[in-house]
Protein backbone atom coordinates (compact mmCIF):
# COMPACT_ATOMS: atom_id res chain seq x y z
CA UNK A 1 0.00 0.00 0.00
CA UNK A 2 1.37 3.40 -0.92
CA UNK A 3 1.96 5.97 1.77
CA UNK A 4 -0.71 8.22 0.33
CA UNK A 5 -3.65 5.84 0.55
CA UNK A 6 -2.37 4.95 4.00
CA UNK A 7 -2.61 8.54 5.12
CA UNK A 8 -6.02 8.96 3.50
CA UNK A 9 -7.16 5.97 5.47
CA UNK A 10 -5.84 7.38 8.71
CA UNK A 11 -7.74 10.62 8.07
CA UNK A 12 -11.03 8.93 7.24
CA UNK A 13 -10.80 6.27 9.95
CA UNK A 14 -12.32 8.31 12.81
CA UNK A 15 -15.23 9.32 10.60
CA UNK A 16 -15.73 5.70 9.66
CA UNK A 17 -15.83 4.78 13.35
CA UNK A 18 -18.43 7.47 14.04
CA UNK A 19 -20.69 6.44 11.16
CA UNK A 20 -22.86 3.81 12.90
CA UNK A 21 -23.60 6.08 15.87
CA UNK A 22 -24.28 9.11 13.69
CA UNK A 23 -26.59 7.13 11.40
CA UNK A 24 -28.52 5.72 14.36
CA UNK A 25 -28.96 9.17 15.87
CA UNK A 26 -30.03 10.65 12.52
CA UNK A 27 -32.61 7.92 12.00
CA UNK A 28 -34.14 7.96 15.48
CA UNK A 29 -33.79 11.65 16.37
CA UNK A 30 -32.72 13.74 13.37
CA UNK A 31 -35.36 12.56 10.94
CA UNK A 32 -38.22 12.78 13.50
CA UNK A 33 -37.08 16.30 14.39
CA UNK A 34 -37.32 17.43 10.77
CA UNK A 35 -40.62 15.63 10.36
CA UNK A 36 -41.94 17.25 13.51
CA UNK A 37 -41.14 20.72 12.24
CA UNK A 38 -42.96 19.86 9.01
CA UNK A 39 -45.90 18.40 10.95
CA UNK A 40 -46.20 21.54 13.04
CA UNK A 41 -46.97 23.51 9.87
CA UNK A 42 -49.65 21.08 8.75
CA UNK A 43 -53.21 20.30 9.56
CA UNK A 44 -52.78 16.67 10.61
CA UNK A 45 -55.73 15.22 12.46
CA UNK A 46 -57.92 12.16 12.31
CA UNK A 47 -58.84 12.64 8.63
CA UNK A 48 -55.14 12.52 7.73
CA UNK A 49 -54.71 9.37 9.83
CA UNK A 50 -57.19 7.77 7.44
CA UNK A 51 -55.46 8.84 4.26
CA UNK A 52 -56.43 12.43 3.44
CA UNK A 53 -53.23 14.25 2.47
CA UNK A 54 -52.16 16.73 5.14
CA UNK A 55 -52.88 20.34 4.39
CA UNK A 56 -50.31 23.11 4.74
CA UNK A 57 -51.55 25.68 7.19
CA UNK A 58 -48.43 27.77 7.71
CA UNK A 59 -48.24 29.17 11.20
CA UNK A 60 -51.87 28.40 12.00
CA UNK A 61 -51.06 25.71 14.58
CA UNK A 62 -48.72 28.06 16.38
CA UNK A 63 -51.11 30.99 16.16
CA UNK A 64 -53.88 28.83 17.55
CA UNK A 65 -51.65 27.66 20.38
CA UNK A 66 -50.25 31.02 21.34
CA UNK A 67 -53.76 32.38 21.70
CA UNK A 68 -54.91 29.29 23.61
CA UNK A 69 -55.27 30.14 27.27
CA UNK A 70 -54.99 26.47 28.21
CA UNK A 71 -51.49 26.09 26.74
CA UNK A 72 -50.30 29.08 28.76
CA UNK A 73 -51.84 27.62 31.86
CA UNK A 74 -50.09 24.29 31.25
CA UNK A 75 -46.80 26.05 30.50
CA UNK A 76 -46.98 28.13 33.65
CA UNK A 77 -47.92 25.03 35.66
CA UNK A 78 -44.95 23.15 34.16
CA UNK A 79 -42.52 25.94 35.00
CA UNK A 80 -43.80 26.40 38.55
CA UNK A 81 -43.79 22.63 39.17
CA UNK A 82 -40.27 22.41 37.75
CA UNK A 83 -38.87 25.27 39.84
CA UNK A 84 -40.53 24.13 43.07
CA UNK A 85 -39.30 20.58 42.63
CA UNK A 86 -35.79 21.64 41.67
CA UNK A 87 -35.59 24.06 44.61
CA UNK A 88 -36.87 21.57 47.19
CA UNK A 89 -34.57 18.85 45.82
CA UNK A 90 -31.54 21.15 45.96
CA UNK A 91 -32.32 22.38 49.47
CA UNK A 92 -32.73 18.87 50.89
CA UNK A 93 -29.88 17.40 48.84
CA UNK A 94 -27.32 20.10 49.64
CA UNK A 95 -28.49 20.21 53.27
CA UNK A 96 -28.00 16.47 53.64
CA UNK A 97 -24.58 16.63 52.00
CA UNK A 98 -23.50 19.33 54.46
CA UNK A 99 -24.87 17.48 57.47
CA UNK A 100 -23.27 14.21 56.33
CA UNK A 101 -19.85 15.67 57.15
CA UNK A 102 -20.75 15.98 60.81
CA UNK A 103 -22.41 12.57 61.23
CA UNK A 104 -20.77 9.65 62.97
CA UNK A 105 -19.32 7.28 60.41
CA UNK A 106 -21.90 4.53 60.95
CA UNK A 107 -24.82 6.95 60.61
CA UNK A 108 -23.32 8.39 57.46
CA UNK A 109 -22.94 4.92 55.93
CA UNK A 110 -26.53 4.11 56.89
CA UNK A 111 -27.80 7.35 55.34
CA UNK A 112 -25.82 6.75 52.18
CA UNK A 113 -27.12 3.18 51.88
CA UNK A 114 -30.69 4.45 52.21
CA UNK A 115 -30.13 7.12 49.57
CA UNK A 116 -28.59 4.55 47.23
CA UNK A 117 -31.64 2.31 47.58
CA UNK A 118 -34.00 5.17 46.77
CA UNK A 119 -31.80 6.12 43.83
CA UNK A 120 -31.77 2.58 42.48
CA UNK A 121 -35.54 2.08 42.51
CA UNK A 122 -37.02 1.91 39.00
CA UNK A 123 -39.36 4.86 38.34
CA UNK A 124 -42.48 2.82 37.72
CA UNK A 125 -41.89 0.58 40.75
CA UNK A 126 -41.44 3.57 43.04
CA UNK A 127 -44.58 5.13 41.60
CA UNK A 128 -46.65 2.08 42.42
CA UNK A 129 -45.25 1.99 45.96
CA UNK A 130 -45.95 5.67 46.55
CA UNK A 131 -49.50 5.22 45.24
CA UNK A 132 -49.91 2.38 47.67
CA UNK A 133 -48.51 4.54 50.50
CA UNK A 134 -50.97 7.34 49.64
CA UNK A 135 -53.86 4.94 48.99
CA UNK A 136 -57.22 6.37 50.06
CA UNK A 137 -58.46 3.37 52.02
CA UNK A 138 -55.51 1.32 53.20
CA UNK A 139 -52.54 3.67 52.71
CA UNK A 140 -49.95 4.04 55.44
CA UNK A 141 -49.81 7.83 55.05
CA UNK A 142 -53.49 8.24 55.92
CA UNK A 143 -53.13 5.76 58.79
CA UNK A 144 -50.14 7.56 60.31
CA UNK A 145 -51.63 11.04 59.88
CA UNK A 146 -54.89 9.88 61.45
CA UNK A 147 -53.02 8.24 64.32
CA UNK A 148 -51.24 11.55 64.88
CA UNK A 149 -54.62 13.18 65.30
CA UNK A 150 -55.38 14.40 61.79
CA UNK A 151 -58.64 13.74 59.98
CA UNK A 152 -57.25 11.69 57.11
CA UNK A 153 -59.44 8.60 57.15
CA UNK A 154 -60.40 7.89 53.55
CA UNK A 155 -58.63 11.02 52.32
CA UNK A 156 -58.19 10.98 48.53
CA UNK A 157 -54.83 12.56 47.74
CA UNK A 158 -55.11 12.66 43.97
CA UNK A 159 -58.55 14.24 43.64
CA UNK A 160 -57.63 17.90 44.03
CA UNK A 161 -54.93 19.37 41.75
CA UNK A 162 -52.90 20.98 44.51
CA UNK A 163 -52.79 17.81 46.56
CA UNK A 164 -52.08 15.82 43.36
CA UNK A 165 -49.02 17.96 42.72
CA UNK A 166 -47.97 17.62 46.34
CA UNK A 167 -47.86 13.83 45.95
CA UNK A 168 -46.03 14.19 42.63
CA UNK A 169 -43.49 16.51 44.28
CA UNK A 170 -42.89 14.09 47.15
CA UNK A 171 -42.17 11.33 44.63
CA UNK A 172 -39.95 13.43 42.37
CA UNK A 173 -37.97 14.85 45.30
CA UNK A 174 -37.58 11.40 46.87
CA UNK A 175 -36.11 10.10 43.63
CA UNK A 176 -33.88 13.10 42.90
CA UNK A 177 -32.32 13.93 46.27
CA UNK A 178 -29.78 11.05 46.25
CA UNK A 179 -28.03 12.30 43.09
CA UNK A 180 -27.72 15.82 44.51
CA UNK A 181 -26.62 14.66 47.96
CA UNK A 182 -23.94 12.31 46.62
CA UNK A 183 -22.56 14.74 44.05
CA UNK A 184 -22.39 17.67 46.45
CA UNK A 185 -20.94 15.49 49.20
CA UNK A 186 -18.23 14.32 46.81
CA UNK A 187 -17.42 17.95 46.05
CA UNK A 188 -17.32 18.80 49.76
CA UNK A 189 -14.84 16.03 50.56
CA UNK A 190 -12.44 17.62 48.10
CA UNK A 191 -12.40 20.94 49.92
CA UNK A 192 -9.01 21.46 51.54
CA UNK A 193 -9.28 20.98 55.31
CA UNK A 194 -6.86 23.87 55.95
CA UNK A 195 -9.30 26.26 54.37
CA UNK A 196 -11.98 25.39 56.90
CA UNK A 197 -9.57 25.33 59.81
CA UNK A 198 -8.18 28.71 58.88
CA UNK A 199 -11.63 30.26 58.75
CA UNK A 200 -12.46 28.68 62.08
CA UNK A 201 -9.33 30.06 63.69
CA UNK A 202 -10.29 33.44 62.32
CA UNK A 203 -13.43 33.09 64.40
CA UNK A 204 -15.97 32.43 61.67
CA UNK A 205 -19.17 30.86 62.97
CA UNK A 206 -20.88 27.91 61.32
CA UNK A 207 -23.21 30.00 59.17
CA UNK A 208 -20.45 32.39 58.19
CA UNK A 209 -18.20 29.50 57.14
CA UNK A 210 -21.05 28.09 55.11
CA UNK A 211 -21.81 31.35 53.39
CA UNK A 212 -18.32 32.72 52.77
CA UNK A 213 -16.15 29.64 52.51
CA UNK A 214 -17.99 26.41 51.79
CA UNK A 215 -20.73 27.40 49.35
CA UNK A 216 -18.52 29.66 47.19
CA UNK A 217 -15.91 26.89 46.84
CA UNK A 218 -18.43 24.37 45.53
CA UNK A 219 -20.31 26.90 43.42
CA UNK A 220 -19.49 25.27 40.04
CA UNK A 221 -20.84 21.92 41.21
CA UNK A 222 -23.96 23.54 42.66
CA UNK A 223 -24.61 25.34 39.39
CA UNK A 224 -24.30 22.24 37.23
CA UNK A 225 -26.36 20.05 39.57
CA UNK A 226 -29.02 22.72 39.95
CA UNK A 227 -29.25 23.22 36.22
CA UNK A 228 -29.58 19.47 35.66
CA UNK A 229 -32.42 19.36 38.19
CA UNK A 230 -34.25 22.14 36.36
CA UNK A 231 -33.81 20.38 33.02
CA UNK A 232 -34.93 17.03 34.43
CA UNK A 233 -37.90 18.44 36.34
CA UNK A 234 -39.09 20.26 33.25
CA UNK A 235 -39.76 16.92 31.61
CA UNK A 236 -41.49 15.00 34.34
CA UNK A 237 -43.78 12.72 32.37
CA UNK A 238 -43.99 9.24 33.86
CA UNK A 239 -44.92 10.40 37.36
CA UNK A 240 -47.68 12.72 36.18
CA UNK A 241 -49.05 10.30 33.59
CA UNK A 242 -49.27 7.36 35.98
CA UNK A 243 -50.79 9.45 38.78
CA UNK A 244 -53.37 10.74 36.29
CA UNK A 245 -54.23 7.17 35.34
CA UNK A 246 -54.61 6.44 39.04
CA UNK A 247 -57.35 8.98 39.42
CA UNK A 248 -56.16 12.55 38.91
CA UNK A 249 -58.10 14.81 36.56
CA UNK A 250 -55.91 14.99 33.45
CA UNK A 251 -57.15 18.38 32.33
CA UNK A 252 -56.38 20.02 35.64
CA UNK A 253 -53.04 18.31 36.16
CA UNK A 254 -51.48 18.21 32.68
CA UNK A 255 -47.90 19.36 32.33
CA UNK A 256 -46.39 19.99 28.91
CA UNK A 257 -45.31 16.36 28.40
CA UNK A 258 -48.63 14.76 29.21
CA UNK A 259 -50.43 17.50 27.29
CA UNK A 260 -48.48 16.66 24.13
CA UNK A 261 -49.19 12.97 24.62
CA UNK A 262 -52.91 13.41 25.19
CA UNK A 263 -53.26 15.89 22.33
CA UNK A 264 -51.38 13.79 19.78
CA UNK A 265 -51.36 10.09 20.56
CA UNK A 266 -54.47 10.24 22.71
CA UNK A 267 -56.49 12.70 20.64
CA UNK A 268 -55.09 12.23 17.13
CA UNK A 269 -54.28 15.92 16.58
CA UNK A 270 -50.69 15.47 15.45
CA UNK A 271 -50.25 18.90 13.89
CA UNK A 272 -51.03 20.86 17.02
CA UNK A 273 -49.21 18.46 19.36
CA UNK A 274 -46.12 18.71 17.13
CA UNK A 275 -46.26 22.49 17.54
CA UNK A 276 -46.44 22.16 21.35
CA UNK A 277 -43.52 19.72 21.23
CA UNK A 278 -41.42 22.21 19.24
CA UNK A 279 -42.32 24.82 21.84
CA UNK A 280 -41.12 22.47 24.58
CA UNK A 281 -37.87 21.76 22.72
CA UNK A 282 -37.24 25.50 22.42
CA UNK A 283 -37.80 25.88 26.16
CA UNK A 284 -35.31 23.06 26.80
CA UNK A 285 -32.68 24.60 24.53
CA UNK A 286 -32.89 27.91 26.37
CA UNK A 287 -32.42 26.16 29.71
CA UNK A 288 -29.72 23.81 28.47
CA UNK A 289 -27.46 26.41 26.89
CA UNK A 290 -25.68 27.42 30.13
CA UNK A 291 -25.16 23.74 31.06
CA UNK A 292 -23.60 22.92 27.71
CA UNK A 293 -21.39 25.99 27.97
CA UNK A 294 -20.18 24.94 31.42
CA UNK A 295 -19.44 21.40 30.20
CA UNK A 296 -17.60 22.75 27.16
CA UNK A 297 -15.40 24.89 29.36
CA UNK A 298 -14.36 21.77 31.25
CA UNK A 299 -13.83 19.96 27.96
CA UNK A 300 -11.39 22.62 26.77
CA UNK A 301 -9.57 22.71 30.09
CA UNK A 302 -9.21 18.92 30.08
Amino acid sequence: MSERTDRARAVSLPYLLLTPAVLALCLALGYPLVRQVVLSFQEFGLAQQFGTPPEWVGLDNYRELLTDAYLWKVTLRTIVFCLVNAAVTMLIGVGLALVMRTMSTWVRLLTQTGLLLAWAMPVVASLTVWQWLFDTQYGVVNYVLSALGGDFEGHGWLLRPLSFFFVATVIVVWMSVPFVAFTVYAALTQLPGELLEASEIDGAGMLQRLRYVILPSIRPVLLVVGLLQVIWDLRVFTQIYILQQAGGSARETNLLGTYIYRLGIGGGDFGTSAAVAIFMLALTVVLTAPYVRAMLRQEREA
Binding site: R101, T111, L116, M121, V124, T128, Y241, Y291, M295
Partner: protein, 279 residues
Amino acid sequence: MARTASRPARLTANGIGLVAFVLATFPVYWMLNSSFLDRNEIRNPVPTWVPFGGDLDNFRTVFETGQFVSALKISLMVTGLTLLVALSFAFVAAVAVSRFRFRGRISFIVTLLVIQMIPAEGLFISQYKMLETMELLNTVVGLTIVYVAGVLPFTIWTLRGFVEGVPYELEEAAMMDGCTRTGAFFKVTFPLLAPGLVATGVFGFIQAWNEFTLALVVMTREDQRTLPLWLSTFTDVNRGTDWGGIMAGSTLIAVPVIIFFLIVQGRMVSGLTAGAVKG
Protein backbone atom coordinates in the same frame (compact mmCIF):
# COMPACT_ATOMS: atom_id res chain seq x y z
CA MET B 1 -13.48 18.34 59.65
CA ALA B 2 -15.47 15.83 61.64
CA ARG B 3 -12.98 16.17 64.48
CA THR B 4 -13.95 19.75 65.18
CA ALA B 5 -17.70 19.07 65.36
CA SER B 6 -19.12 19.63 68.81
CA ARG B 7 -21.14 16.94 70.54
CA PRO B 8 -24.59 18.52 70.15
CA ALA B 9 -23.83 19.26 66.51
CA ARG B 10 -22.95 15.62 65.95
CA LEU B 11 -26.06 14.40 67.72
CA THR B 12 -28.27 16.68 65.61
CA ALA B 13 -26.51 15.53 62.45
CA ASN B 14 -26.99 11.89 63.43
CA GLY B 15 -30.68 12.52 64.09
CA ILE B 16 -31.13 14.10 60.66
CA GLY B 17 -29.21 11.22 59.09
CA LEU B 18 -31.45 8.61 60.70
CA VAL B 19 -34.61 10.44 59.62
CA ALA B 20 -33.23 10.64 56.07
CA PHE B 21 -32.42 6.93 56.19
CA VAL B 22 -35.96 6.04 57.24
CA LEU B 23 -37.60 8.31 54.65
CA ALA B 24 -35.35 7.01 51.87
CA THR B 25 -35.70 3.34 52.74
CA PHE B 26 -39.29 3.05 53.89
CA PRO B 27 -40.95 2.92 50.44
CA VAL B 28 -38.51 0.21 49.36
CA TYR B 29 -39.15 -1.71 52.55
CA TRP B 30 -42.89 -1.26 52.16
CA MET B 31 -42.76 -2.72 48.66
CA LEU B 32 -41.02 -5.85 49.92
CA ASN B 33 -43.23 -6.09 53.01
CA SER B 34 -46.52 -5.77 51.14
CA SER B 35 -45.49 -8.29 48.52
CA PHE B 36 -45.58 -11.03 51.18
CA LEU B 37 -48.96 -10.12 52.65
CA ASP B 38 -52.29 -11.68 51.70
CA ARG B 39 -55.43 -9.77 50.82
CA ASN B 40 -56.81 -9.66 54.37
CA GLU B 41 -53.65 -8.20 55.81
CA ILE B 42 -53.43 -5.67 52.96
CA ARG B 43 -57.04 -4.62 53.51
CA ASN B 44 -56.68 -4.28 57.25
CA PRO B 45 -57.16 -0.69 58.43
CA VAL B 46 -54.16 -1.19 60.72
CA PRO B 47 -51.08 -1.74 58.54
CA THR B 48 -49.04 -4.90 59.01
CA TRP B 49 -45.56 -3.54 59.60
CA VAL B 50 -43.58 -6.76 59.45
CA PRO B 51 -44.59 -9.65 57.16
CA PHE B 52 -44.61 -12.39 59.85
CA GLY B 53 -46.43 -15.39 58.46
CA GLY B 54 -46.36 -13.91 54.96
CA ASP B 55 -46.05 -16.15 51.93
CA LEU B 56 -45.19 -16.09 48.25
CA ASP B 57 -48.78 -16.27 46.98
CA ASN B 58 -48.61 -12.82 45.40
CA PHE B 59 -45.57 -13.85 43.39
CA ARG B 60 -47.34 -17.02 42.30
CA THR B 61 -50.33 -14.95 41.14
CA VAL B 62 -48.06 -12.65 39.15
CA PHE B 63 -46.52 -15.55 37.29
CA GLU B 64 -49.84 -17.31 36.77
CA THR B 65 -51.50 -14.40 34.99
CA GLY B 66 -49.15 -15.01 32.06
CA GLN B 67 -49.03 -11.33 31.18
CA PHE B 68 -45.97 -10.92 33.37
CA VAL B 69 -44.07 -13.62 31.51
CA SER B 70 -44.99 -12.17 28.13
CA ALA B 71 -43.94 -8.67 29.24
CA LEU B 72 -40.73 -10.10 30.68
CA LYS B 73 -39.92 -11.65 27.30
CA ILE B 74 -40.52 -8.38 25.45
CA SER B 75 -38.47 -6.44 28.01
CA LEU B 76 -35.58 -8.88 27.77
CA MET B 77 -35.60 -8.77 23.98
CA VAL B 78 -35.74 -4.98 23.76
CA THR B 79 -33.12 -4.49 26.47
CA GLY B 80 -30.78 -7.10 25.00
CA LEU B 81 -31.02 -5.79 21.47
CA THR B 82 -30.63 -2.18 22.61
CA LEU B 83 -27.51 -3.05 24.59
CA LEU B 84 -25.94 -5.03 21.78
CA VAL B 85 -26.44 -2.27 19.21
CA ALA B 86 -25.76 0.69 21.49
CA LEU B 87 -22.60 -0.78 23.03
CA SER B 88 -21.02 -1.71 19.71
CA PHE B 89 -21.91 1.59 18.03
CA ALA B 90 -20.82 3.57 21.10
CA PHE B 91 -17.59 1.65 21.49
CA VAL B 92 -16.23 2.47 18.04
CA ALA B 93 -17.43 6.06 18.35
CA ALA B 94 -15.74 6.40 21.75
CA VAL B 95 -12.48 5.13 20.26
CA ALA B 96 -12.74 7.69 17.47
CA VAL B 97 -13.36 10.56 19.86
CA SER B 98 -10.66 9.65 22.38
CA ARG B 99 -7.87 8.25 20.18
CA PHE B 100 -8.06 10.61 17.18
CA ARG B 101 -7.98 14.35 16.70
CA PHE B 102 -10.11 15.25 13.70
CA ARG B 103 -12.18 18.08 12.39
CA GLY B 104 -15.70 18.05 13.80
CA ARG B 105 -14.67 16.25 16.99
CA ILE B 106 -15.75 19.01 19.35
CA SER B 107 -18.98 19.56 17.42
CA PHE B 108 -19.76 15.88 17.77
CA ILE B 109 -19.19 16.01 21.54
CA VAL B 110 -21.37 19.11 21.87
CA THR B 111 -24.10 17.45 19.82
CA LEU B 112 -24.03 14.48 22.20
CA LEU B 113 -24.47 16.79 25.18
CA VAL B 114 -27.36 18.60 23.57
CA ILE B 115 -29.07 15.36 22.50
CA GLN B 116 -28.82 14.04 26.03
CA MET B 117 -30.93 16.96 27.19
CA ILE B 118 -33.76 16.40 24.69
CA PRO B 119 -36.86 15.32 26.57
CA ALA B 120 -38.56 12.21 25.15
CA GLU B 121 -41.82 14.16 25.07
CA GLY B 122 -40.22 16.67 22.72
CA LEU B 123 -39.94 14.11 19.92
CA PHE B 124 -42.22 11.19 20.61
CA ILE B 125 -45.04 12.47 18.43
CA SER B 126 -42.92 12.34 15.28
CA GLN B 127 -41.08 9.19 16.36
CA TYR B 128 -44.50 7.60 16.62
CA LYS B 129 -45.41 8.83 13.12
CA MET B 130 -42.10 7.58 11.74
CA LEU B 131 -42.46 4.10 13.21
CA GLU B 132 -46.06 4.02 12.00
CA THR B 133 -44.91 4.70 8.45
CA MET B 134 -42.19 2.06 8.75
CA GLU B 135 -44.78 -0.36 10.17
CA LEU B 136 -42.63 -0.82 13.24
CA LEU B 137 -45.14 0.22 15.91
CA ASN B 138 -45.66 -2.56 18.44
CA THR B 139 -42.43 -4.29 17.44
CA VAL B 140 -39.27 -4.97 19.40
CA VAL B 141 -37.21 -3.52 16.54
CA GLY B 142 -39.21 -0.28 16.54
CA LEU B 143 -38.80 0.29 20.25
CA THR B 144 -35.12 -0.65 20.02
CA ILE B 145 -34.53 2.03 17.38
CA VAL B 146 -35.70 4.80 19.69
CA TYR B 147 -34.01 3.25 22.73
CA VAL B 148 -30.63 3.04 20.99
CA ALA B 149 -30.79 6.75 20.23
CA GLY B 150 -31.76 7.33 23.85
CA VAL B 151 -28.81 5.52 25.43
CA LEU B 152 -26.15 6.18 22.77
CA PRO B 153 -25.09 9.70 23.83
CA PHE B 154 -24.57 8.71 27.45
CA THR B 155 -22.87 5.44 26.48
CA ILE B 156 -20.42 7.15 24.13
CA TRP B 157 -19.71 9.81 26.73
CA THR B 158 -18.92 7.28 29.46
CA LEU B 159 -16.96 4.86 27.29
CA ARG B 160 -14.88 7.76 26.07
CA GLY B 161 -13.80 8.35 29.66
CA PHE B 162 -12.79 4.71 30.03
CA VAL B 163 -10.82 4.65 26.76
CA GLU B 164 -9.00 7.82 27.74
CA GLY B 165 -8.18 6.16 31.06
CA VAL B 166 -5.94 3.66 29.26
CA PRO B 167 -2.68 5.47 28.46
CA TYR B 168 -1.90 5.63 24.77
CA GLU B 169 1.76 4.95 25.60
CA LEU B 170 0.84 1.32 26.26
CA GLU B 171 -0.36 0.98 22.68
CA GLU B 172 2.71 2.77 21.38
CA ALA B 173 4.95 0.37 23.25
CA ALA B 174 3.11 -2.56 21.63
CA MET B 175 3.53 -0.94 18.23
CA MET B 176 7.26 -0.59 18.84
CA ASP B 177 7.28 -4.31 19.46
CA GLY B 178 5.86 -4.80 15.98
CA CYS B 179 2.10 -4.73 16.47
CA THR B 180 -0.06 -2.88 13.97
CA ARG B 181 -2.10 -0.01 15.39
CA THR B 182 -5.28 -2.08 15.29
CA GLY B 183 -3.47 -5.08 16.75
CA ALA B 184 -2.05 -2.98 19.55
CA PHE B 185 -5.48 -1.62 20.35
CA PHE B 186 -7.13 -5.01 20.57
CA LYS B 187 -4.28 -6.73 22.39
CA VAL B 188 -3.48 -3.99 24.89
CA THR B 189 -6.28 -1.49 25.34
CA PHE B 190 -9.34 -3.63 24.73
CA PRO B 191 -8.79 -6.08 27.61
CA LEU B 192 -8.26 -3.14 29.98
CA LEU B 193 -11.60 -1.72 28.87
CA ALA B 194 -13.63 -4.77 29.81
CA PRO B 195 -14.70 -3.44 33.24
CA GLY B 196 -15.70 -0.13 31.67
CA LEU B 197 -17.76 -1.91 29.01
CA VAL B 198 -19.50 -3.98 31.65
CA ALA B 199 -20.27 -0.96 33.83
CA THR B 200 -21.58 1.05 30.89
CA GLY B 201 -23.58 -1.94 29.71
CA VAL B 202 -25.18 -2.39 33.11
CA PHE B 203 -26.15 1.26 33.16
CA GLY B 204 -27.65 1.00 29.67
CA PHE B 205 -29.53 -2.07 30.84
CA ILE B 206 -31.02 -0.15 33.77
CA GLN B 207 -32.12 2.70 31.52
CA ALA B 208 -33.78 0.49 28.91
CA TRP B 209 -35.31 -1.85 31.53
CA ASN B 210 -36.92 1.06 33.42
CA GLU B 211 -37.98 3.20 30.46
CA PHE B 212 -41.67 4.04 30.42
CA THR B 213 -42.52 7.01 28.19
CA LEU B 214 -41.35 5.72 24.82
CA ALA B 215 -42.64 2.22 25.53
CA LEU B 216 -46.05 3.76 26.22
CA VAL B 217 -45.94 5.51 22.85
CA VAL B 218 -44.55 2.69 20.72
CA MET B 219 -46.09 -0.41 22.31
CA THR B 220 -49.81 0.31 22.20
CA ARG B 221 -50.97 -3.30 21.94
CA GLU B 222 -51.56 -5.19 25.14
CA ASP B 223 -49.59 -8.26 24.03
CA GLN B 224 -46.50 -6.16 23.28
CA ARG B 225 -46.17 -4.43 26.62
CA THR B 226 -42.84 -4.16 28.39
CA LEU B 227 -42.58 -4.75 32.15
CA PRO B 228 -43.00 -1.09 33.23
CA LEU B 229 -46.09 -0.80 31.02
CA TRP B 230 -47.51 -4.01 32.43
CA LEU B 231 -46.91 -2.76 35.96
CA SER B 232 -48.54 0.60 35.28
CA THR B 233 -51.73 -0.95 33.89
CA PHE B 234 -51.99 -2.96 37.08
CA THR B 235 -52.98 0.26 38.83
CA ASP B 236 -55.78 1.14 36.44
CA VAL B 237 -58.70 2.73 38.32
CA ASN B 238 -61.22 0.51 36.60
CA ARG B 239 -59.75 -2.68 37.91
CA GLY B 240 -59.99 -2.71 41.72
CA THR B 241 -56.48 -2.66 43.02
CA ASP B 242 -54.60 -5.79 44.06
CA TRP B 243 -51.83 -4.07 46.01
CA GLY B 244 -50.18 -7.31 47.08
CA GLY B 245 -49.84 -8.40 43.47
CA ILE B 246 -48.62 -4.98 42.36
CA MET B 247 -45.97 -4.94 45.06
CA ALA B 248 -44.85 -8.44 44.09
CA GLY B 249 -44.59 -7.29 40.47
CA SER B 250 -42.70 -4.16 41.49
CA THR B 251 -40.33 -6.26 43.58
CA LEU B 252 -39.62 -8.58 40.66
CA ILE B 253 -38.83 -5.64 38.40
CA ALA B 254 -36.88 -3.63 40.97
CA VAL B 255 -34.65 -6.25 42.56
CA PRO B 256 -32.39 -6.95 39.55
CA VAL B 257 -32.09 -3.21 38.93
CA ILE B 258 -31.20 -2.42 42.54
CA ILE B 259 -28.55 -5.15 42.61
CA PHE B 260 -27.01 -4.02 39.33
CA PHE B 261 -27.16 -0.40 40.39
CA LEU B 262 -25.36 -1.03 43.66
CA ILE B 263 -22.61 -2.85 41.77
CA VAL B 264 -21.88 -0.14 39.22
CA GLN B 265 -22.92 3.04 40.96
CA GLY B 266 -19.52 4.07 42.28
CA ARG B 267 -18.08 3.80 38.80
CA MET B 268 -20.96 5.59 37.15
CA VAL B 269 -21.43 8.55 39.45
CA SER B 270 -18.22 10.01 38.10
CA GLY B 271 -19.44 9.38 34.56
CA LEU B 272 -22.83 10.94 35.29
CA THR B 273 -21.44 14.20 36.45
CA ALA B 274 -18.79 14.05 33.75
CA GLY B 275 -16.15 15.88 35.69
CA ALA B 276 -18.50 18.30 37.41
CA VAL B 277 -17.11 17.17 40.75
CA LYS B 278 -13.69 18.47 39.91
CA GLY B 279 -15.12 21.96 40.11
